[in-house]
């Protein structure tokens, strides 16, 4: 088995998931940080649920929902002619759910830490809401965005249980690094398992270390 293919696939999956989560998670995080709706606690609970739920629960429901008999899967089959389970697209959907809180929560925390007056000052200076968001809110929330991106990426790399349940272990499509390592261990190929595990171990340390270094520099500026 190719050593790098699963690692590359994991990186692709993590990257696509991260991009989608930042794009979709930012408006969600903004709404959560600003709203006083009585639905806020419920929305927060839904966002945080993947942290608490075992991957088996997500995997089990996704297998049913994304399958050709499931409500999402059926629609997808009609639209594209292929099924979502055992496909890269299916893994992206699964990962977006699985890593959602890791992207949304740091961004939301950053938004909530913004002084209210800063925003109001921008508005009174005539900036549109969107303009104020991009020229004031985003630059002041860089730490949150960096944390959200790094954690969404890294957490998707670490995904295992959900992929095991809906991936189908297809080389180049759904056999990501964590699954390949599991196969190597199960088939007693400890040398290959070590090589990949060490790479992931090193990588995980480097990205998290980088994130904390960045956050410290940023906060002491």
């Amino acid at each position: 088995m190719n050593l790098y293919e699963p690692l590359l696939l994991s990186a692709q999956l993590a990257f696509v998931t991260m991009v989608i989560l930042i794009l979709a998670g930012t408006p969600l995080a903004w709404w959560l940080s600003q709203t006083s709706s009585r639905w806020k606690p419920a929305a927060q609970a839904v966002v945080a649920m993947p942290i608490v739920l075992p991957p088996t629960v997500l995997g089990f429901y996704l297998l049913i929902l994304l399958g050709p008999d499931g409500s999402i899967g059926k629609w997808w089959v009609q639209l594209t002619g292929s099924t979502l389970t055992f496909s890269f697209t299916g893994l992206v959907i699964a990962s977006c759910i699985y890593s959602l809180p890791f992207a949304v929560q740091p961004i939301q925390n950053a938004f909530e830490a913004l002084p209210r007056q800063t925003l109001e000052r921008a508005w009174t200076l005539g900036a549109s809401r969107l303009d104020a968001f991009f020229s004031v809110v985003v630059p002041l929330s860089v730490r949150g965005f960096v944390s959200g991106m790094v954690l969404a990426f890294a957490h998707t790399l670490g995904e295992f249980g959900v992929v095991l349940m809906v991936g189908g272990n297809i080389p180049g499509e759904t056999r990501v690094a964590s699954i390949a390592i599991y196969d190597h261990v199960e088939s007693l190929n400890y040398a290959a398992a070590h090589r990949m595990s060490l790479l992931l171990l090193g990588f995980a340390f480097v990205v998290l270390f980088g994130m904390y270094v960045f956050n410290r520099r940023w906060s002491t500026r």
Binding site: G67, F86, G168, I170
Partner: protein
């Protein structure tokens, strides 16, 4: 029986037997239901309590290598027991084939399982790298000349249980499962089953070993003898394994 009564009964009848540690048996998942029947029979006959630990052969093997306190290992293959014997973790000469698995093609919806191999969007088999039934399935597909056609449509499951999951949930049209699973209590109804010719793949020998630390334990030796008795083989064959007598 009310719980309180049950405990009283348990304390009076089973108490003396349980006073010593039960015999610990690590059982490959595909055999766990069959072994449940065997253990019940064995305990009823001898008064020796048996504790069952189920899991995949690979995981149980790793646990044994790392010192898990099992007395007997019923694997789904011949390889892990052989490795345990070679490394001295299993009692030398204790290894034997307790069951021979039978591979079955199974579908939830298709009328004809063999046709479904050609037409299904996905064909599920256990990962040949780690699961004996997956390796056998692949060998059959190769020997029948289907592999080239099917390779791009395969979804690999972790084991035969997950093959059933993939097929039962409609995610795969057809899959290779173990015959021993077909009559299981939670097995969904299938539209077709087709026994794969056993000569088309290497035999699914499931071997047992006595682990070295338990080799002197008379109770464990009795269990081992029981597993090779006619009474036990009858139960094993009734559960869908091949009859080697």
């Amino acid at each position: 029986m009310r719980p309180a009564n049950f405990f009283l009964f348990f304390a009076l009848v089973a108490g003396p037997v349980l006073a010593e540690d039960p015999v610990s048996v690590a059982v490959a998942s595909n055999f766990s239901r069959t072994f449940g029947e065997l253990a019940e029979r064995f305990s009823a006959d001898t008064g020796i309590a048996v504790r069952t630990i189920t899991g995949s052969t690979g995981k149980l093997y790793a646990q044994i290598v790392n010192g898990a306190p099992f007395d007997v290992f019923l694997a789904a293959d011949a390889e892990r027991p052989r490795l345990l014997e070679v490394s001295g973790r299993a009692a030398a000469g204790s290894r034997f084939t307790y069951a021979t698995g039978r591979l079955v093609l199974w579908s939830r919806d298709a009328e004809n399982c063999v046709d479904a191999l050609r037409t299904s969007h996905r064909v599920a088999l256990a990962n040949p790298l780690i699961a004996p039934y997956g390796r056998a399935a692949r060998e059959f597909l190769e020997s029948a000349g289907h592999w080239e056609d099917i390779a791009g449509r395969v979804a690999y499951a972790e084991n035969v249980m997950q093959v059933v999951q993939f097929v039962a949930s409609g995610n795969a049209g057809v899959g290779f499962v173990a015959a021993s699973m077909l009559n299981g209590p939670h097995m969904p109804a299938g539209a077709c089953t087709w026994p794969v010719p056993p000569q088309s793949h290497s035999p699914l020998e499931q071997q047992a070993v006595l682990l070295a630390a338990a080799a002197e334990d008379k109770r464990v030796v009795r269990l081992f003898e029981f597993l090779q008795s006619d009474a036990a083989i009858d139960i094993i064959v009734r559960n869908g394994y091949g009859d080697m007598r």
